[in-house]
Amino acid sequence: MPPNSKKEPEIPAMATAALARFGDRFDEAQREVLIKTARQLEEAAEDLRKWELANGDEPDSAFSALQGQDS
């Protein structure tokens, strides 16, 4: 076993995506904030995934076709 096999905590996918796009904007401290924020959002998303939804459960957003005249 190599001497430095200690596993690094995984970087959340959201943080990886954000760093890939904007990584050059951050110093080390900001990078940590970014990873912490991504972890918190992933936890929130994970909690939501525990809530059982049926196939027909639609998002609570109001979409309607634009008003017009029947013709």
Binding site: M14, L48, W51, D60
Partner: protein, 469 residues
């Protein structure tokens, strides 16, 4: 120079003095602008004072009142707009450095309606940058500096309607308009010891207001009494073709049909089980005293709120919609000009939120809304502390994982479901800072909430307390 004591009067009292000639719209507007320019700036409550527009509106109101043309209770009353409302005659900065020079050539619907009601817009008021949607942790997250609390200038005025809360509490203005996506009206109302009304989602047009979260943003009044909130909501509510989310419903205050129906034993109040948990002890004492007062007009019973992931859903929805609303700011890097260090970083993660997570949050939200509709249908109001803590010191931060502020247990679901709420002062807590009682109702029950909260204020004097000059 201390503010003119006239500015500490209610809208009704000021209206009487305006009509008797004891004061005038121009005198009130000048007094308000002087107070904002001195005390208001010390509190970091002011973005822009609008001398020219204010004096033009005040002069017109004066002439109209003198000629007998009376537009109603707000005629000649000075007011301030949270600096996310477009108004001709001043920049609209959204509290954020990248938008310091932003100017709109039209008025937000709320601004236009208040002008039609004869109110005199004297200032744009400071706010947390981008209404707090970028996840601020620092309490100085605004280009105007930290919002200082009139009760203790080393404490926070609350956010994100900081200037609106501080200016009304300090008796610099009779009323102001704030906005709430998640707590931004009721929190400054609580921390500053004033009355704040969050209307039902869709009750008030958001046209011309900065968008943070299209499905959660609301506009509403911050005042010193329930009655004043009623007068202001009457002026600003109603459908607007420029805002497709505004509903075809009318709101009148006082309600033309009179007092809402109630049971023989009065109003029915529900208090969330476990509300004491995480609530500061002084606030527990004050809420218990408030519940005793409410027993004079009805019954109080404990209600078990469902265990649903409301905070999580609200967090993801606001993050995703906020990242979309400010996509250009994030993409072009201007987000790095924001005041709060946390706000320079977090939006980059929000922009990477998977669509599936946002949609799941919106699907769960439908269940939450349905559950809270069933609960609020059973009661005239759900009552409890507006915030579980008094205003924090400005030296503190709002780390969301160990945050020193706690909102009411119904805060997240109430905002997700678009429910109306009114926060009223109910005493003082730690460090002598104000505490607050919140009434949350079923959608579209603002009239009922106003009646109930009026009854509470008729039996108490907490809303009359003024901070030190």
């Amino acid at each position: 120079m201390p503010p003119d004591p006239l500015l500490g009067l209610s809208i009704g009292e000021l209206g009487a003095k305006l009509r008797s000639g004891e004061t005038s719209p121009t005198a009130l507007a000048r007094a308000a602008m002087e107070a904002l320019d001195s005390t208001g700036r010390e509190l970091n409550a002011v973005a822009t004072i609008m001398d020219e527009r204010a004096m033009r509106q005040a002069t017109r109101a004066e002439a109209e009142l003198a000629s007998g043309h009376d537009r109603g209770p707000l005629h000649g009353i000075p007011w301030g707009a949270k600096d996310l409302l477009a108004a001709v005659g001043a920049p609209t900065t959204w509290g954020a450095t990248p938008f310091r020079d932003q100017v709109f050539d039209y008025d937000a619907t709320v601004v236009r309606r208040l002008e039609q009601a004869g109110a005199v817009l004297v200032a744009k008021l400071a706010m947390v940058e981008l209404a707090g949607g970028m996840g601020y942790e620092e309490l100085d997250a605004a280009w105007t500096g930290p919002g200082r609390n009139p009760w203790d200038r080393d404490s926070w005025a609350g956010g994100s309607s900081s200037g609106s809360g501080a200016a009304v509490a300090a008796r610099l203005l009779p009323f102001a308009i704030g906005s709430e996506t998640f707590g931004s009206i009721v929190t400054p109302a609580s921390y500053c010891g004033i009355t704040g009304l969050r209307p039902t989602y869709g009750r008030v047009s958001r046209y011309g207001a900065m968008a943070l979260s299209w499905t959660m943003d609301k506009l509403g009044p911050l005042c010193r009494s329930v009655e004043d909130c009623g007068f202001v909501l009457d002026a600003i509510a109603g459908p607007d073709e420029n805002d497709p989310t505004s509903v075809q419903r009318t709101f009148r205050y006082p309600a033309p049909e009179g007092r809402p129906e109630q049971r023989k034993d009065g109003f029915r109040f529900g208090v969330p089980a476990g509300w004491r948990e995480g609530t500061e002890p002084e606030i527990v004492v004050n809420i218990e005293a408030s519940l005793e007062t409410l027993r004079q007009i009805g019954t109080v019973e404990e209600v078990a709120l469902p265990d649903m992931p409301s905070n999580q859903a609200a967090r993801i929805i606001i993050a995703a919609e906020g990242a979309s609303a400010f996509e250009d700011l994030i993409e072009d890097g201007r987000v790095m000009q924001l005041q709060a260090p946390s706000c320079r970083v977090k939006p980059h993660v929000y922009a990477a939120l998977p669509a599936a997570d946002y949609l799941r949050a919106m699907r769960v939200r439908r269940h939450i809304s349905a559950a809270y509709d069933r609960i609020t249908a059973e009661y005239d109001a759900i009552v409890g502390p507006t915030t579980g803590n008094v205003s924090p010191l400005l030296t503190q931060t709002l780390d969301r994982s160990t945050r020193p502020t706690t909102s009411a247990p119904i805060g997240a679901p109430g905002n997700l479901a678009g429910l109306p709420a009114i926060a009223v002062p109910n005493g003082f807590g730690d460090r002598g800072m104000p505490t607050s009682l919140q009434f949350t109702g079923r959608a579209w029950t603002e009239s009922r909430l106003l009646t109930i909260a009026s009854e509470y204020q008729a039996r108490t004097e907490h809303h009359l307390a003024a901070p030190p000059a």
